[in-house]
């Protein structure tokens, strides 16, 4: 059995020297969050809203730390204006975004922001790749980390519900 994508992504965080991981929790990220929590060299910062994570990343970068922001697609909308700081100051950040409102969604409230997440990010200058198969998550994350920290701009990986498994109303 192959290992879960969270293991590979966590290994990349360590390889790339990520020091701060901020998040608003999402079920799709729960394994990765546990791995980060258990690592004494990573600072895990829980946020009240995703836009705090963008600002936190600015401070982290000013202080010499690379950081990653974990969120659900509904949080993308909360970040829009704050993303301007990354553009103006050429600050790198990698965002891993677990999708709702795409393949097989049951909750109508998730669909508008889920469907708009990619275009909203791109409109604010974020480089976006979307993983629709489990095997894509780790290489896409590696690519996002590289392009973010080598070219000083934000990059996001959307992790689709086909990878995560769609939630059902009964869960």
């Amino acid at each position: 059995m192959s290992t879960h994508w969270s293991e590979g992504v966590f290994a990349l965080f360590k390889q790339q020297g990520i020091r701060q991981v901020s998040l608003v929790p999402d079920a799709g990220h729960s394994r990765l969050i546990k791995l980060c929590e258990a690592d004494a060299d990573l600072r895990l910062v829980r946020l009240t809203t995703e836009e705090e994570g963008i600002a936190l990343a600015v401070g982290a970068w000013l202080g010499g730390d690379k950081s990653v922001l974990l969120m659900q697609s509904s949080g993308v909308g909360n970040c829009i204006n704050m993303l301007s700081m990354l553009a103006v100051c050429q600050i790198p950040l990698t965002m891993l975004i677990t999708m709702r409102g795409d393949w097989s969604e049951f909750n109508p409230w998730q669909v508008p922001m889920g469907q708009a997440a990619r275009s909203v990010l791109e409109a604010m200058g974020v480089l976006v790749s979307a993983a629709q198969q489990e095997g894509e998550v780790v290489p896409f994350t590696e690519g996002a980390l590289r392009i973010a920290y080598n070219t000083f701009r934000p990059a996001a990986v959307l992790i689709g519900q086909r990878v995560l498994g769609a939630k059902t109303f009964m869960e």
Partner: protein, 159 residues
């Protein structure tokens, strides 16, 4: 609370006093007049003045304080800027980095847009009390210049 106008704090003087003996203190200055206040006290590379990203100053300070735990970090911002990111006080209250201080220049107004009232106006939201409720027990309200010295001492005590 009514404040006697003859003893009203002058923001430029307050910030000058706070930064006079700053040493290696890193300063994040929030969108609006706090950025001008910080620059007027000395345009130095240890300042990061914001001209956007409203509501983000405190969270920037938190990320910086975590990244540079041995250096004092001061977030200098206004009431309107803080009110837009009030949740970040809750986040700071949970992590409580010992090297992070927050000073809010609370003029009860949105100064950049025509001095419209903010929620702190006329006995409204008490930001010092909010900070205490978020876990920052050492929060206090300064209304007179003769209290600024003690605040300065407090800010620099971590150096």
């Amino acid at each position: 609370m009514a404040i006697d106008s003859s003893t009203r704090l002058d923001r430029r003087e307050v910030v000058k006093a706070l930064l006079r003996e700053r040493g290696e203190m890193l300063v994040i200055a929030g969108l609006g007049a706090p950025s001008w206040d910080a620059a007027a006290a000395g345009d130095v590379p240890l300042n990061f003045p914001l001209w956007g990203g409203m509501g983000g100053a405190v969270a920037i300070g938190l990320g910086l304080a975590i990244a540079q735990p041995k250096r004092p970090v001061l977030v200098l911002t206004g009431d309107g800027e803080l009110l837009m990111g009030l949740g970040s006080l809750a986040t700071v209250g949970v992590y409580k980095p010992a090297n992070l201080s927050i000073v809010v220049l609370d003029n009860e107004r949105y100064g950049e847009t025509g001095m419209q009232n903010s929620h702190t106006a006329a006995g409204g939201v008490n930001l010092a009390a909010v900070a205490v409720a978020c876990g920052m027990e050492r929060s206090s309200l300064v209304t007179r210049m003769d209290q600024v010295g003690a605040l300065c001492k407090d800010l620099h005590s971590m150096q």
